[in-house]
Each structure stands twice: as structure tokens, then as C-alpha cells.
């Protein structure tokens, strides 16, 4: 799987509507295998989750195209994995959750056992292998979701605010696992609204606002001096709601 080269991921004028509202507009970008960690940031409702799901193929673009360079869709699909903000645990043990993922890829029993054990150990869940996944704490569930995603040995790992609902200690453990995966060569595409986390981890940044990419740059440059006004306000913690014309008009009428 690792030999397969699916990069770059190219989005060309991609757009998406939901309930008659256009939620992603004119997305034009190219994401390569390097740098290792691409962060998608922006205020709530900017379309970060939708952007990730569009890239991952859970949502289909209504306008434009989403294309993995050079390979057929199905192969690209099997080289990806995603972790959601709220992990969905299958009604099985922790071990069973990882084993399930491996079995989906048709891996033999003996190898499944070894890899499951290694992944549980790597995510610090070795002692919880036999416990029902749904009985784990939220932080443990998120780590298990990560282990399960890594079981696919993905070339690309999408993470949709994986630490948003976790306390700092649990978030830290999750961050460590992500970093480790990146070091192993997995491309990480992760959304976050935690600016500290983004600054700590990101190699490059995509700034989204109201369904559009406003800025796409190397992380150090972006955080040092954002070009976009909105991005600057966002980094400075200023509210962006005043940009919303409808709210502005309502406010003006008062």
C-alpha cells in the first residue's frame, strides 16, 4: 500500500450545497504528500468538516472536481482513513474494533492478532483490549478510533477536530499519536479550531471562512503574518460575525 502514490489531491472549483444553502464554494487547491501535516482552521461553521469529508469522499462535490493524482478512485479510497470529532465505536470490544478494520482489508488472522496488539499498545489501550469499546472514556474512545484508523495503514489520515471534546491531558495523548503517525510517513490532514494546537503541530494551513478558502500557506508564515483580514482577526480572537451581512443588517435596524 505504501508504494502507492496517490498524491497530490487536487480540488478544482469544488462546491457543495446543503438544504439549498451553498456551504462550500469555489474550492481550488492542491494538497501534496509534503509537508506532512496540513491543518484546516477557521471559525465554527466555516465548513471545515465538510471540506474534510469532501476530500475523503464521504461527500460528493456538486460542482467542480475532487481528484487524487494519478490513481483510480477506489485505490485512493483504500489508502485513506478518517477520525471524527465524536468517535463511533462498534458494539464490540476495543480489540474487536481494530480487528474489524483489519478484517475489512482481508488480513489473515495471525497477522491481525499481531497488528491489533501492536496498535493497542501504541495507543496505550493494551490493558483495555477486552473491554467493550462503548464503555471506554471519551479520551480512550478517541485513541481507539485513531488506532482503528491506523490499522488501515493509510497514506492519508483525515482528522476532524479529534481533540475538540477532550480535556487537555487526553488531548495531549491523542496529539502524540498523530505526531507519531506523521513521523512514520502518514500524511495528516486535520481540522481544528484550537489555535494553540494548530501552531504547535501544523506544517501548512488552510484558512476557511464561510465555505471559501481565504488563505493557504506554510504554517510559520501564516501564523507570523496572515495576509487575509479575516484570518488576522481570527488569529487575534476578534469576533468575525460582523462580516455576516444579515446579522449586520439586523443589528443596524435596532
Amino acid at each position: 500500500m505504501k508504494e502507492l502514490d496517490i498524491f497530490p489531491l487536487e480540488l478544482h472549483r469544488a462546491g457543495l450545497s446543503m438544504g439549498g444553502k451553498r456551504v462550500l464554494k469555489d474550492i481550488d487547491c492542491q494538497i501534496g504528500a509534503r509537508p506532512q501535516k496540513t491543518f484546516v482552521i477557521g471559525p465554527n461553521g466555516a465548513g471545515k468538516s465538510l471540506f474534510l469529508k469532501l476530500c475523503h469522499g464521504l461527500l460528493q462535490a456538486e460542482e467542480g472536481t475532487v481528484h487524487w493524482g494519478g490513481v483510480a478512485g477506489k485505490d485512493a479510497r483504500l489508502a485513506q482513513a478518517m477520525v471524527f470529532q465524536r468517535p463511533v465505536m462498534l458494539r464490540r470490544s476495543a480489540l474487536g474494533n481494530i480487528d474489524y478494520a483489519l478484517r475489512l482489508r482481508g488480513i489473515a488472522r495471525a497477522e491481525r492478532r499481531d497488528r491489533t496488539e501492536a496498535l493497542l499498545k501504541r495507543t496505550g489501550l493494551g490493558h483495555l483490549a477486552k473491554v467493550s469499546a462503548r464503555a471506554l472514556s471519551f479520551g480512550e474512545q478517541q485513541r481507539l478510533a485513531l488506532a482503528r484508523a491506523l490499522a488501515f495503514t493509510p497514506l492519508v489520515l483525515f482528522l476532524d477536530e479529534p481533540t475538540a471534546s477532550l480535556d487537555p491531558a487526553a488531548a495531549h495523548l491523542v496529539e502524540d499519536i498523530i505526531e507519531e503517525a506523521a513521523v512514520d510517513g502518514t500524511k495528516v490532514i486535520m481540522s481544528s479550531h484550537d489555535l494553540g494546537q494548530a501552531q504547535r503541530m501544523a506544517d501548512e494551513v488552510i484558512f476557511l471562512h464561510r465555505g471559501r478558502i481565504k488563505e493557504f500557506r506554510i504554517a510559520s508564515d501564516f501564523f507570523a503574518a496572515p495576509k487575509n483580514d479575516l484570518a488576522r482577526d481570527f488569529l487575534e480572537g476578534k469576533p468575525l460575525w460582523w462580516r455576516r451581512r444579515s446579522i449586520y443588517r439586523n443589528g443596524g435596524a435596532k
Binding site: 469529508k53 464521504l58 482513513a81 471524527f84 463511533v88 458494539r91 464490540r92 464503555a135 488501515f152
Partner: protein
């Protein structure tokens, strides 16, 4: 009140004497109904799951039809199966009329819509939870179906129990296609109907109490299995 006391006494006598005829009738009732429920589950659970997963034109109509079929009167099912299995009917050559097999066929028709509808409802609910994750895994439709059936297994016990309740309690269909033949197709409900028609009301009611007790034991067993499984998996 005397009638009820007499019924309890009759039930007690039957059980204490371990009446061979009674044992035979109970065994056949359980055999027929359990096989009917098993077959219905084998067909109905994958079918219900498919309907839960799939999106196709006419899906809503199919759901409505299966919901409506849950109310099929057993007598009507009995008549239809009789006409099919009768020597003058299309499947007459199979020579199945007045056999336990015919009773199983009729009960499958009665139970199948219940299993399909309840499975669909339960798995639809589970699918909302699982959809994105399983699609992200790249699971095929068949794999999704198998996963839902397996992960929903404790909840699906409810569907099995509902189906079993319908099968074990109905009299109209098995009376017509089984013929209530002594030592061959006589089950609890047809025996009750026969005793009632002979005016042996206490005996009929006593048999009814035994049927109720059997049903109760099975339900308790299944429910504890279910809650055991659910406590473990926190479904």
C-alpha cells in the same frame, strides 16, 4: 372465580402428571414456532437490513406494505396456504397439507413481516450512527449489512420475541393447514380450541396457562440474554 380456580387446578394436574399427550403437544408447538421464527429471521433480518440501508424508488411503499402485513389475520394466511398446498393447488404434489411443515410455512408468512419491519426499524437507527464510519472504512454494502446485523444482535432479540409471540399464540392458520390431527399436528392453541369446543373450559384454560408460562420463560430467557449483552456493550 371458580372457573379460574378449576383452570389452575387443571393446569397443575396436567403438569404434575407429566401427561405424555401434553408433552407431545408442547414439544410440537415449540418445534413449529421456533423453526418458523428461525426461518423468518434468516430471511427477514437480511431483508429488513437491506431496506434499512438501501435507497431506491418505492422504498417507502415497501416499508408501508410490510408494516401493514404485520396485521395479517392468521385465518386468511391459513386459507391462502391451504389453497396453495391443497391437492388441487399449485403445490399439491408436495403433499404437505396437514403436516407440521405446512404449519411452519403458514407461521413464516405470519412472522416474516414482523421480523422485517422491526429489523428495519432497529437497523435504520443503528445505521444513522454507523453510516459515516463504515463508509470511511470503505466497507461494501454487504459488509455494512453484516456489521449492522451483528452489532444490532442484542436489539434484534426484540424482533425475534415479537415474532415468536405471534407464532406460538395464533390458532387460525395452524388449525386450517394442520388440521388439528391428534399426535401429528395438534399444538397448544388448537388443543385449547378443541377442549373449549368440547365444553372442557377448565382444561382449555389450564392449557392456556401452560402456554402462557412457556411463553413467559422464553421471554425471560431472551430478555436476560439481551440485557446481559447490552450491559456489556452499552448499546
Amino acid at each position: 372465580m371458580d372457573a379460574f380456580a378449576a383452570a389452575f387446578a387443571a393446569a397443575g394436574d396436567l403438569i404434575l402428571s407429566a401427561d405424555a399427550g401434553l408433552v407431545e403437544i408442547i414439544a410440537l408447538s415449540l418445534e413449529v414456532s421456533l423453526i418458523a421464527v428461525g426461518l423468518s429471521a434468516l430471511i427477514g433480518m437480511p431483508l429488513g437490513g437491506l431496506i434499512a440501508l438501501a435507497t431506491f424508488p418505492g422504498r417507502r411503499a415497501i416499508i408501508v406494505v410490510f408494516n401493514a402485513l404485520m396485521g395479517l389475520p392468521p385465518v386468511v394466511v391459513g386459507l391462502v396456504v391451504y389453497l396453495l398446498l391443497s391437492r388441487s393447488g399449485p403445490f399439491g404434489v408436495l403433499d404437505l397439507l396437514f403436516t407440521p411443515t405446512a404449519m411452519i410455512v403458514a407461521q413464516v408468512i405470519l412472522v416474516l413481516p414482523i421480523i422485517v419491519s422491526l429489523t428495519r426499524q432497529i437497523l435504520e437507527f443503528l445505521w444513522i450512527d454507523y453510516r459515516e464510519t463504515l463508509r470511511s472504512f470503505g466497507a461494501t454494502r454487504i459488509q455494512c449489512l453484516a456489521t449492522l446485523l451483528w452489532d444490532g444482535r442484542f436489539m434484534l432479540v426484540t424482533a425475534l420475541l415479537a415474532g415468536f409471540g405471534r407464532a406460538i399464540a395464533e390458532v387460525g392458520a395452524v388449525m386450517i393447514v394442520g388440521g388439528n390431527i391428534d399426535h401429528l399436528t395438534r399444538v397448544m392453541t388448537t388443543a385449547i380450541a378443541l377442549e373449549a369446543s368440547k365444553g372442557e373450559l377448565a382444561l382449555a384454560l389450564g392449557l392456556g396457562l401452560i402456554l402462557l408460562a412457556i411463553s413467559l420463560v422464553l421471554n425471560v430467557l431472551a430478555q436476560s440474554l439481551r440485557s446481559l449483552g447490552e450491559t456489556w456493550s452499552l448499546a
